[in-house]
Symmetry: C2
Subunit: 322 residues, 2 copies
């Protein structure tokens, strides 16, 4: 029988120094961070619940990846450099195979971002993964939701909608070939947080406001508009669809790019004078960036087709309680 302390020791404590800002890692009442002078500490917490954020029986390695990826994506949306994270884990049982897979997926992504596990909690209970992540961003450079200004361009990183298409297929809502499903599913189960792009946008002062797209673009951009007290026009046909969704009919493409979910791309706003520098930043980190709209003084979000004609799509962001 694996004890709680053996479980932590065997699967979650790793050799070596945890990181430059980590004064004390796992094994005390608290972890200790020594933040870099002149930076703000960015903090985000996400809780993933079985049957809600992932299917029961989901592969443990992919789950380890995704649970950290969604938090790294929040740092990316703030323009912060990862510093470390805590993991609180409720498990129905201490299953060695599951733990080994989960830790492998978790640490592969953590290592890729030099983001060490610094503490947490382990308990028995219905499967629940709660990660709180810490990052640093130069004081005054954080990409806040309340910073968009009329005249700003609206940008999107990467492509949208393939995660939503995979989810719809797995739920039996949309018919998708096995091959197409295999191509789209990694966008749902193994999202890529745009940390490098977020850092460049903040460090070089290129973007004003940013958010990561987790609940669908229309809903998430709506948070920027509300916090910044502005409106926007969005060219729905300019939204870059994922390669699988791009082969589908226009109505589905519009719905799943504009209001899909689980994209973990960045939506950000920037002055038009920054266009070339933003394109260069995207190229420098290998992440496509696309201009898809414009921030305006008039409140509300106006959707248009590729010819500028108004589109009346019934779209809404995801909500856990309605």
């Amino acid at each position: 029988m694996l004890s709680e302390f053996d479980l932590i020791r065997q699967y979650f404590v790793r050799p070596g120094a945890p990181g430059p800002q980590v004064e004390l890692g796992i094994g005390d009442d608290c972890a200790l961070l020594r933040p870099t002078p002149g930076t703000s500490l960015a903090i985000s917490s996400d809780m993933l619940v079985e049957g809600r954020h992932f299917f029961a029986g989901e592969d443990a390695r992919r789950l380890g990846h995704k649970s950290l990826a969604v938090n790294l994506s929040d740092l990316a949306a703030m323009g912060a450099r990862p510093v470390g994270f805590t993991l609180a884990l409720a498990l129905p049982a201490a299953d060695r195979d599951w733990l080994a897979g989960f830790a492998a997926g978790l640490f592969a992504l953590a290592d890729a971002h030099a983001c060490p596990l610094i503490g947490g909690d382990t308990t028995k209970g219905p499967l629940n993964l709660c990660i709180t992540i810490f990052g640093e961003v130069e004081a005054g450079r954080a990409l806040r939701r309340d910073a968009a200004r009329p005249g700003d361009d609206v940008w999107i990183s990467g492509t949208l909608g393939d995660a939503r298409l995979a989810l719809a297929a797995l739920r039996g809502e949309v018919a998708v070939s096995a091959e197409a499903l295999a191509a789209a599913t990694p966008r749902l189960t193994m999202p890529t947080p745009r940390v490098a792009l977020g850092r460049l946008l903040a460090e070089q002062g290129l973007a004003r406001a940013a958010i990561d797209i987790s609940d669908g673009l229309v809903g998430d951009l709506g948070h920027i508009l509300a916090r910044s007290k502005v409106g926007a026009t969005l060219d729905v046909d300019a939204l870059p669809a994922g390669p699988v969704l791009a082969t589908r009919e226009p109505a589905l493409r519009r719905a799943f790019t504009a209001a899909g979910g689980d994209d973990y791309e960045l939506c950000f706003t920037a002055a038009p004078s920054r266009r070339d520098a933003i394109a260069a930043a995207g190229a420098a980190c290998g992440t496509p960036v696309t201009r898809v709209g414009r921030i305006e003084a008039a409140a509300g979000l106006r959707l248009t087709d590729g010819h500028g004609a108004p589109l009346d799509l019934q779209l809404a962001g995801f909500d856990h309680f309605t």
Copy 2:
């Protein structure tokens, strides 16, 4: 129907500036903290699961108190001053009465410690409360588990065992009068984190190692011994029993003071030269402090009775998986 965003707005967003170190609170991808120069940031995460850490149907207000109290207790054990916390919450349903009660209990304690809620997550799922808390402690002053030295006194704050007695009574393991149960139960459901004492011990450099007693003294002191590579002798009859447990038979008193659980008192070590200053610190913050043993070079924990004779108690700390 209460939406996720309404839920957060109505029950968890509060007017006013959140706190001196909080640059940005609830409502963005990340919260932003601006740590005080010359301090280390102490971070702890605790997850509370229904049926595991509290009984199903537990009063929401008490639950709000306890979920923050256990985290404040971790800051206390590090000697850190509270700065803020995040709350990730999985709820079976958005029940207004429950939310109002939970928020009332949570914020009453948060306000008492000037510790604002700065962010978090809300989702649907089996009831699960995950708080990550942040505190500051002067660089080099944190009370770490690995700092005990041979010759140190072992100290306990407050009293031990009444929480464990209440739990035993509620589980039907021990017969307790209704009056005694009513007196002991608040120790289980409304623990008092020893934040002021922890701060004095760190700020004035009085203690070396510290831990908070959540899984039973013997197990928790064992963590200090293991991390500090030392041993100790503990006078079990010197352990200050809670007022209800103090009226019970010696065997129960020994078991529940030495290895109860849910005490949320501090166990700390300090040089004998600090005795008077520690007594003064306890008096200054109204928390009794009691010397109960001695750190020794020889590994292992030796239990004695009040006459120094060895005691062979079968005791173990709480483990979630064995």
